[in-house]
C-alpha cells in the first residue's frame, strides 16, 4: 500500500463527492417537502450543464456569468416542472406512485428532447484555468475541483442559513413537517413548494456547470445524477446535512473501489450500496423514515 496513492484517491473522491453532495441537496429538498423522489431532477441538472456549455462556448461569457445563467435557467425549468407535472397531482392528493410516474415521464421527455434536438455527442467546456492542477502533499488536485468544493460549501451553507433563520425558511420547514397544518397556519403552500423547486433548480444549475466542466455535457448524464440520488439515500432523504455527508461518502467509496477493485464494477458497487442501505437502513444516516401514507 503506498500512501501517496491512497491520498490521491481520497482527494479524487472528495472532488466528485462534493458535486454529489450538491446534487443530493436538491433531491433532498424536494423530497423533504413533497415526500417523493423527483427523478426528473437529474435531467434538470443535465440541461443546466448544457446551458452552461452554450453560454461559455457560444456566447463566450466567463464562468461566473455562465454559472449565473445556468442557475436561472435551471431554476425556471425546475419551477415549471413542478407546475406542469406535479401541482395538479398534489391538489388532488394523488398517491406517490403517480408522482413518480409523472417524474419519470418528465425525465424521459427532457432527455430524449436533448437527444433529438442537440444530439448525443459529448460537449467539452472551454479550458478555464491555464494551469489546471495544483499539488497538495504530492497529490494533484484540479483547481476547478478545489473551486467547486469551496463554492459548494458556501452554497450549502447559505441554503442552510436561509432555511434555518429566515421567515420563508421557517415556512419551508413547517411545510415539510406537515403540509396540511402549515397551510392551516397561513403558509402559502403553493408558493413555498414553488420556491423549494426554484432553490433545488439553483443547485441543479451549480452542479450542472461543475459536472459539465469535469465530465463534459452530454444527454446521458442522468447516470451520474442517479448516483447523487444514491448519495441522498445514504445520507437520509430529506436531510440536508445527510445529503452532504452521503455525497462525500459515496464519492470517496467509489474512488477507492475504482482504484483498488475494478472500475467496471464501480457502478454495480454503488447500486449494491444503495440496495443494502435501503434494506437495512432506509432512513439513511441522518434522515427520518416516512411510511407512505395511504
Amino acid at each position: 500500500m503506498n500512501f501517496s496513492l491512497i491520498f490521491q484517491t481520497l482527494i479524487t473522491g472528495l472532488a466528485i463527492g462534493g458535486i454529489y453532495s450538491l446534487m443530493a441537496v436538491g433531491y433532498s429538498l424536494i423530497f423533504s417537502i413533497l415526500n417523493f423522489s423527483n427523478f426528473a431532477y437529474g435531467m434538470v441538472i443535465m440541461l443546466a450543464s448544457f446551458m452552461g456549455y452554450f453560454a461559455m462556448s457560444k456566447l463566450h461569457v466567463g464562468m461566473g456569468i455562465a454559472l449565473f445563467l445556468a442557475m436561472v435557467g435551471a431554476g425556471t425549468l425546475s419551477f415549471f416542472n413542478e407546475r406542469v407535472a406535479y401541482s395538479s397531482l398534489r391538489k388532488r392528493h394523488a398517491p406517490p406512485l403517480y408522482f413518480m410516474i409523472s417524474a419519470m415521464g418528465t425525465s424521459i421527455f427532457l432527455e430524449n428532447m436533448v437527444y433529438a434536438t442537440i444530439g448525443s455527442q459529448y460537449n467539452a467546456y472551454p479550458q478555464i484555468f491555464a494551469v489546471p492542477t495544483i499539488k497538495i502533499f504530492g497529490a494533484s488536485l484540479g483547481k476547478m475541483d478545489l473551486f467547486a468544493i469551496i463554492f459548494s460549501i458556501i452554497a450549502i451553507y447559505i441554503l442552510n442559513y436561509f432555511i434555518q433563520h429566515t421567515r420563508t425558511g421557517i415556512s419551508i420547514r413547517a411545510a415539510s413537517y406537515d403540509s396540511t397544518v402549515a397551510e392551516i397556519n397561513g403558509v402559502n403552500l403553493g408558493a413555498v413548494i414553488g420556491l423549494v423547486f426554484i432553490l433545488a433548480g439553483l443547485f441543479a444549475g451549480i452542479s450542472g456547470v461543475f459536472l459539465g466542466i469535469k465530465y463534459m455535457a452530454y444527454p446521458n448524464m442522468g447516470w451520474i445524477t442517479n448516483k447523487a440520488y444514491v448519495a441522498a439515500v445514504i445520507g437520509g432523504l430529506g436531510s440536508l446535512p445527510g445529503a452532504v455527508v452521503g455525497g462525500i461518502i459515496l464519492g470517496v467509496l467509489e474512488s477507492f473501489v475504482s482504484v483498488y477493485v475494478s472500475s467496471t464494477l464501480r457502478d454495480v458497487f454503488s447500486f449494491g450500496t444503495l440496495i443494502i442501505f435501503l434494506v437495512f437502513m432506509p432512513s439513511g444516516l441522518f434522515g427520518k423514515y416516512l411510511e407512505e401514507k395511504v
Partner: protein, 293 residues
C-alpha cells in the same frame, strides 16, 4: 411478412406488459428493472437452444423459470423490508443496470458483443399461441385468491395487512409471475430478432414497459395489451425516429398522470359485451335527448 413481424413484436411486448401489469397494476409497486428479466429470459433461452441444443419448447419454460428465480434475488430483500414504493423503484433501476453490467462481463453470454445467429422460432402461430396462454394464465391469476389479495394491497396495504394478508408473499408472487412473463417476452424477442446483446435491455426498455402499463391502465389486463399494440404499431405506421417516440412517451406519461391517471381502460376490462353495452347506453342517451327536445 412485414406485417407479420409487427404483429409478432406487438404480441411479444404485450406478453411482457401483461406480466408487468400484474405487478405494477395489481400491487402498486413500480419497477424500472423489468428489462433485466427480459434479458435473463432471452439469454437463458438463447444459451439453451444454441449452446446446449435444447428444444425451444423446453427452453422457453426454462427462460421463464430462470427470470422468475432471478427476480427473487432482488424481490426477497426489498419486499421483505417493505420499502416505500419510490425506494423499491430505484432499487429495481439499480438492479437492472447491475444485471446488464454482469451480462457484459460473463463469458457464457459472449460479453458486450452479444449472441448472433439464433434460430427463428418466434413465428406468428407460436407467438400467438404463447400470447393466448400467457393472457389466460394472467386472467386466472388475477381472478384467483392471490389476485384479489393483490388488489386489496394496491388499494390500501395497511388495511390489507390488518385483514391478514401476507404483504411480502403476495407481492413476491406477483413479482415472480411478472418476471416470468418478461422472461418469456425476452426469449421470444431473442428468437424473433435472432440476435441479442446486453445493450438491447437498458432501462429505456424497462421504462417503455412501465409506460405501456400506465397508459393502458393500472389495474387492467386488456388495457396494457391494447396499449402495447398501439405503442408498437403507431410509430411503425408513422415511421418516426426512436428519439421522438421516447419524447412522445415521456410527454404521454405526464399527460396521463395529470389528465387521466386511470389510463385507457382504468380498472375495467375490454370485452365484446362491454362494447355492446356501451353502444346500447349511447343509444338510450340519445333517445332520451330526443324526447326532451
Amino acid at each position: 411478412m412485414y406485417i407479420q413481424g409487427i404483429l409478432i413484436l406487438c404480441m411479444i411486448n404485450a406478453i411482457s406488459a401483461v406480466g408487468l401489469a400484474v405487478f405494477t397494476g395489481f400491487t402498486g409497486l413500480m419497477s424500472l428493472g423489468h428489462a433485466a428479466f427480459m434479458a435473463v429470459g432471452a439469454y437463458t433461452c438463447a444459451i439453451a437452444t444454441k449452446t446446449f441444443g435444447i428444444p425451444f419448447f423446453i427452453a422457453l419454460p426454462m427462460a421463464a423459470l430462470m427470470a422468475g428465480l432471478v427476480s427473487l434475488v432482488i424481490g426477497i430483500p426489498t419486499l421483505r423490508a417493505k420499502l416505500r414504493s419510490d425506494y423499491f423503484t430505484i432499487a429495481t433501476l439499480g438492479f437492472g443496470e447491475a444485471m446488464r453490467v454482469l451480462l457484459e462481463n460473463l463469458p457464457i453470454t459472449n460479453g458486450a458483443r452479444g449472441m448472433a445467429g439464433l434460430a427463428r422460432f418466434s413465428v406468428l402461430p407460436t407467438v400467438f399461441l404463447i400470447f393466448v396462454i400467457v393472457v389466460f394464465f394472467t386472467k386466472n391469476f388475477i381472478f384467483s385468491r392471490y389476485g384479489r389479495m393483490a388488489i386489496a394491497i394496491r388499494e390500501d396495504h395497511i388495511a390489507a395487512e390488518m385483514a391478514g394478508i401476507n404483504l411480502f408473499q403476495v407481492r413476491l408472487r406477483s413479482l415472480f409471475f411478472s418476471a416470468a412473463c418478461a422472461g418469456i417476452g425476452g426469449a421470444l424477442m431473442a428468437h424473433h430478432i435472432r440476435f441479442i446483446q446486453p445493450n438491447m435491455f437498458t432501462n429505456v426498455q424497462s421504462t417503455l414497459l412501465t409506460a405501456t402499463v400506465v397508459a393502458g391502465g393500472m389495474g387492467s389486463i386488456t388495457g396494457p395489451i391494447i396499449a402495447a399494440f398501439i405503442f408498437v404499431m403507431v410509430p411503425e405506421v408513422l415511421r418516426v425516429a426512436e428519439m421522438w417516440r421516447l419524447v412522445a412517451y415521456g410527454a404521454l406519461l405526464v399527460a396521463i398522470m395529470v389528465l387521466r391517471p386511470q389510463g385507457i381502460m382504468g380498472y375495467r376490462e375490454f370485452s365484446i359485451n362491454g362494447i355492446i353495452r356501451y353502444f346500447r347506453n349511447l343509444g338510450t342517451k340519445q333517445d332520451k335527448g330526443g324526447t326532451v327536445s
